[in-house]
């Protein structure tokens, strides 16, 4: 098992190096540079050249790349041009906020998705199945940013149950209840689509398992139906559901961008969008490398979890 994990971790290294090359090249190749973005109307060639020199952007590209990579290997991601703050501080702050948001959304969609899928499958073609299928279709079809805006209008502006935006109140205590009140709408908006997808796939995974012989055996020997569904069948179906959860976790993390913008959540997705518009090279590069690294690790973790459930994969 250790060998398997080690092998997977080693194979991640070329992936990460590839990511650094690609993100560096993309930022170098897109038109517009940080000096132009900073100077705006006053971006004369002379001013741009002077500012680029001050920012250290007048060196040849390969040299810039190697300096950046070398510094990063020593844990120095540089300083953001637009925020005047160490990239790593900003990314870690922002990533925390995204983890809170995406993590809660993920828990919501995993729990509700699997429960809905199991209930659907256990009542195939029954009223519960039809109701859930209808709700799921509706959920999959609504874009999260639109849902988010409608929720703000309904629950924050009209009913005033929740604050409109942000992660914390501007003044006053910071406790779990306050965080939950800020989290409720964005996490729900983010979870809805993934919940639908997980529910659909859990349903079909469960239906496949429920047709198998060991289920009939379990029923025949008189195991309680509740136990047959939630223990025997769900456990077997999890092998098929788990990779879907892995994919949806990635989806939730990337879908967080829209939700973060609508709810002014101080997360990493919104940070990257702002950074790209401002051509904040080091923040974009550092942020992408960090997030991509997390994706790679997360995928390895899913693979390992799957191999624990199904030893045949571990070869």
């Amino acid at each position: 098992m250790t060998g398997y994990i080690l092998k997977r971790l080693l194979s991640a290294i070329p992936v990460l190096i590839g990511i650094t090359v690609i993100v560096f090249l993309i930022m170098a190749l897109i038109p517009g540079d940080p000096a132009t973005a900073i100077l705006g109307s006053y971006a004369t060639p002379e001013n741009v050249a002077r500012l680029n020199r001050d920012l250290g952007l007048d060196k040849p590209l390969p040299q810039q790349y190697l300096i950046w990579l070398g510094n990063m290997l020593q844990g120095d991601f540089g300083t953001s041009f637009a925020l005047n703050r160490p990239v790593l501080d900003e990314v870690l702050d922002r990533f925390n906020a995204t983890l809170v948001l995406a993590g809660s959304a993920f828990v919501l969609c995993a729990v509700f998705g699997i429960v809905a899928g199991v209930v659907s499958a256990a009542n195939q073609y029954g009223p519960a199945d039809k109701a859930i299928t209808f709700a799921v279709l509706l959920g999959i079809s609504v874009p999260s940013f639109f849902l988010g805006m409608m929720m703000i209008l309904g629950f924050a502006v009209t009913l005033r149950w929740f604050p409109v935006s942000g992660m914390w109140p501007i003044y006053g205590e910071r406790n779990l209840a306050v965080l939950l009140s800020h989290l409720a709408m964005p996490a729900t908006a983010l979870a809805v689509v993934a919940t639908g997808v997980i529910a659909r796939l859990s349903r079909s995974a469960m239906l496949e398992v429920l047709r198998q012989d060991f289920i009939r055996t379990a029923r025949a020997k008189g195991v309680h139906e509740r136990r047959v569904i939630w223990r025997h069948a769900l456990r077997a179906a999890m092998v098929a559901i788990l990779p879907v959860l892995g994919i949806q976790a990635g989806f939730v993390l990337s879908g967080a961008v829209y939700v973060e913008i609508v709810f002014q959540w101080p997360g990493v997705g919104r940070m990257l969008v702002d950074a790209i518009l401002k051509r904040d090279l080091l923040l974009v590069q550092g942020g992408v490398v960090f997030v991509a690294g997390c994706y790679v690790l997360f995928n390895i973790a899913v693979d390992v979890a799957q191999s624990l459930l199904d030893p045949r994969i571990r070869t």
Partner: protein, 525 residues
């Protein structure tokens, strides 16, 4: 049926969880406290070091924390004393001697004096200065005419310029000229940008990244302590979310209200503020090649575009029709006799026919967004329709803002016949000097991307820049505007009115033509 039982139990559990989440925020909707003004900003500030920033968004905070030697008189773009009580200009316009206000202290307790002034300008302009590395200082070129800054005595400081430069005083009133505490720069070094100290009405209290910048009243302010206890600047980048926060009572003052959202604030509990500023939105026309090389076609474009419809329909009344290159906000330099080109498609068609440019194919650069560009895609589309109505064949090419600047600033030659552009400036000199002179063609480092050239205009602008007499400058600018209006190197479209909304708890607030946000007299209960 046991399965249903489980589901029902699950439903109850779910319901309870939901109810708990719903119950939690009761109290989260508390009102904002009295005496503390919550301002909805459009972005996280970059830095609170006035020499290091370029964005209006950051200026809104800085103008309340720092003072300059001079400032704009309330409601105007005319310079009046601030940290300096007076000044003298030498006859040749190259020496400015300022008398400084006595007894002023920075928020960190150190004294404001001539040494502090010298420190500020040397830090920005002198590469050998020990604190030059607290930059970069992207707008330092505002003061590139300054050859030296000398301390005459504690309260007298003299600037020597390498040539007469009339905009010097109004550049000192611009945020780049705000005075920072040398002691605080020495103490914090590069971290000064997050630990600012000035002489302004409010002192810096706290910066929570991506959440808020908090400033507190400076009771010892030389111009009278502010009414508010504190101001909180919240970055809310999405305009719809900013509008929702204002409607839900999460902020007391909102800047840059999107035109479509203005109708939300018609109620008695809100006040909508509007103020025209030193902004011009125009189309650069390529006067070097193609149909716009002919003055008649350029004039035709000015007649063909329905500017009234643009400002009233597309911009929902958040701008006024522009008459020429100098916005009316520069009251002293603007030529009030200049009327906008009227909307007259027949005259446009006649001029085009006269020039033989019927059916000419035009490439039109449009941007997706950008500073001061208002609603560029919708405006570009409306302009395209107006020009096609008079028989021109217009093709739009749309670019993201930074890419757009990269295409337009080096000049339109070989690429396009026209391009959208907008400028906000602090002196009537800046825009025409950088974008209308022959010596400002892109290959010479200027912004004259349409290659307009008229020796008369060049001479007027050069003369206005070196004159130290404001009346004389005003006369020269007014004459320049008449010629430029007739030559029509641009289609003059709109002057933006900046807007803001305040709740009924906020009093004594007014927007400034400078577009700065000044809060020292604002009240809130």
């Amino acid at each position: 049926m046991s399965l249903f039982h489980v589901t029902r139990r699950g439903l109850i559990a779910t319901g309870t969880a939901l109810a708990l989440t719903l119950a939690a925020p009761s109290g989260a909707r508390a009102q904002t406290p009295p005496g503390v003004l919550i301002v909805g900003q459009i972005a996280e500030p970059k830095a609170l070091d006035p020499a290091a920033v370029t964005a209006v968004n950051d200026f809104r905070i800085l103008m309340n924390v720092y003072d300059g030697l001079v400032r704009y008189r309330d409601g105007t773009l005319e310079v009046e004393p601030a940290l300096a009580t007076g000044w003298e200009i030498s006859a040749d316009g190259t020496e400015y001697t300022f008398t400084l206000r006595e007894g002023v202290k920075f928020h960190d307790g150190s004294d404001f004096d001539a040494e502090a002034v010298k420190f500020n300008f040397d830090r920005m302009l002198n590469e050998d200065h020990p604190y030059h590395d607290t930059g970069p200082f992207p707008l330092a070129f505002f003061f590139s005419a300054v050859e030296s800054t000398e301390v005459i005595d504690d309260l007298t400081v003299k600037f020597t310029l390498n040539a007469p430069y009339a905009p010097f005083l109004s550049n000192l009133a611009y945020p780049t000229g705000l005075i920072v505490s040398p002691a605080a720069v020495a103490q914090h070094g590069p971290e000064f940008a997050r630990n600012p100290s000035g002489t302004g009405a409010f002192s810096f209290a706290e910066w929570r990244s991506n959440e808020a910048v908090v400033i507190e009243a400076n009771a010892a302010y030389w111009d009278g302590a502010p009414e508010l206890d504190a101001v909180v600047f919240r970055p809310i980048t999405d305009a719809n979310t900013r509008t929702a926060e204002m409607l839900a009572g999460g902020i007391d003052l909102m800047v840059e209200v999107p035109p479509v959202a203005l109708s939300e604030f018609r109620g008695a509990q809100y006040t909508v503020h509007e103020q025209a500023g030193p902004h011009v939105w125009f189309l650069i026309l390529n006067a070097k090649e193609g149909p716009f090389a002919d003055k008649r076609v350029r004039q035709a474009a000015n007649y063909a575009v329905n500017k009234e419809a643009l400002v009233n329909e597309v911009l929902e009344g958040t701008a006024e029709v522009a008459a020429g290159p100098t916005p009316p906000a520069f009251a002293w330099a603007h030529n009030p006799d200049l009327a906008p080109y009227p909307y007259d498609p027949d005259k446009a068609r006649a001029l085009i026919a006269e020039a033989g440019a019927e059916g000419a194919e035009l490439t039109f650069f449009v941007t997706e967004g950008g500073s001061g560009m208002l609603d560029p895609v919708a405006m570009g589309t409306a302009i395209q329709a107006d020009l096609e109505a008079v028989g021109l064949d217009v093709t739009i090419e749309t670019y993201e803002w930074n890419t757009f600047l990269g295409e337009v600033n080096p000049g339109l030659e070989g690429k396009a016949d026209m391009a959208e552009m907008a400028w906000m400036t602090n002196d009537p000199d800046t825009l025409p000097f950088l974008a209308l002179r022959t010596a400002a063609w892109p290959d010479q480092g200027g912004f004259n991307s349409g290659y307009y050239s008229n020796p008369e205009v060049d001479a007027l602008l050069e003369a206005a820049r070196v004159s130290t007499d404001q009346d004389e400058r005003a006369r020269l600018y007014r004459e320049m505007q008449v010629i430029v209006h007739e030559d029509a190197p641009w289609v003059f479209v709109a002057n933006w009115k900046q807007n803001a909304v305040t709740s009924d708890r906020v009093g004594n607030f007014a927007l400034q033509p400078s577009f700065f946000l000044l809060l020292d007299d604002v009240m809130k209960n």
